[in-house]
Symmetry: C2
Subunit: 149 residues, 2 copies
DNA sequence: TATTGTTATACTCTATAACTATA
DNA sequence: TATAGTTATAGAGTATAACAATA
């Protein structure tokens, strides 16, 4: 199987595992992705729209729906009167933590057939591709921040 | 970077490249995926819904919209009076062919930083994961069929 | 009775255009 | 004037429930 085919099928596989993992928490993939982006701290709407590749108004709606579930909220940006920052609520921080761990578990299981050294090799090759393409930290490690609820 | 994080970020990267590639043809990722699944020949609605992990009615809508664009059409299943098969139209087969090639190109470019042997290694490791998890052929190589238009 | 598919309805996701408010 | 964000509107994607037709 060629590399492009392998990458596209991997996308399909990981996508399903991701959606499965977060569905247990009653949220959609998009809402989960939004939450992952603000785990490390509040971020502005424009910033988030840029990272997610969404129109501003699309993000407004996504934040609205996620806020309605009590997982995020808007806080005014002290350095810019026009801007709003999106932050996790206390409940959101808790859900994000558990959802992240569950997703790691689900996705990790996909590689059950690989040996430890093969997993490391795969991770390092993918890391190269990710770094080369400057993929934003849409799913991260460490860097939790306090909820500003 | 751990393997789960690398896989989730890869999903994000490939997803964007895939959407980019097919947008040039005026279709959505979902419609492109549907078309890829019937490149090798007509398939039934239930079959497709199962592979895509969609509710039956969701697929009805997806097929409706793709058919409205003239890319697929329904043909009765000769072996089951209840069933409909989804097939590419002539235009759909043409679009699918070009869109597939373009997607391969886009996705292949993501690995520009890897040497030829690294690409082969990455492809083989991902192939193992794909095979282990019995990922359906949502994006394939070879196996073109004639359009039944 | 079970299966295939559609329809009705509702919600989520997304984009474009027009708008408000602040820089 | 440019930027941050929202609102209005429309279309695409998805699910559940009820239904029709065939197996």
């Amino acid at each position: 199987m060629g590399l492009p085919t392998a990458l596209v099928r991997t996308r399909f596989l990981v996508d399903a595992a991701y959606a499965d993992a977060v569905r247990d928490y009653g949220i959609t993939s998009q809402q989960a992705q939004l939450m992952c982006l603000v785990i490390a701290g509040p971020r502005g709407m424009c910033d988030l729209a840029g990272v997610l590749g969404l129109a501003k108004s699309s993000l407004t709606g996504l934040v609205d729906r996620t806020a309605k579930r009590g997982l995020v909220h808007r806080v005014p940006d002290p350095s810019d009167g026009r801007a709003q920052l999106v932050a996790l609520t206390e409940e959101g921080a808790d859900v994000a933590e558990r959802m992240h761990a569950s997703t790691v578990q689900h996705v990790d299981n996909l590689a059950y057939g690989l040996s430890e050294s093969e997993r490391e090799l795969l991770a390092s090759l993918l890391s190269r591709v990710i770094t080369d393409n400057e993929v934003p930290k849409v799913f991260g490690e460490g860097d939790r921040a306090q909820a500003s609820a």
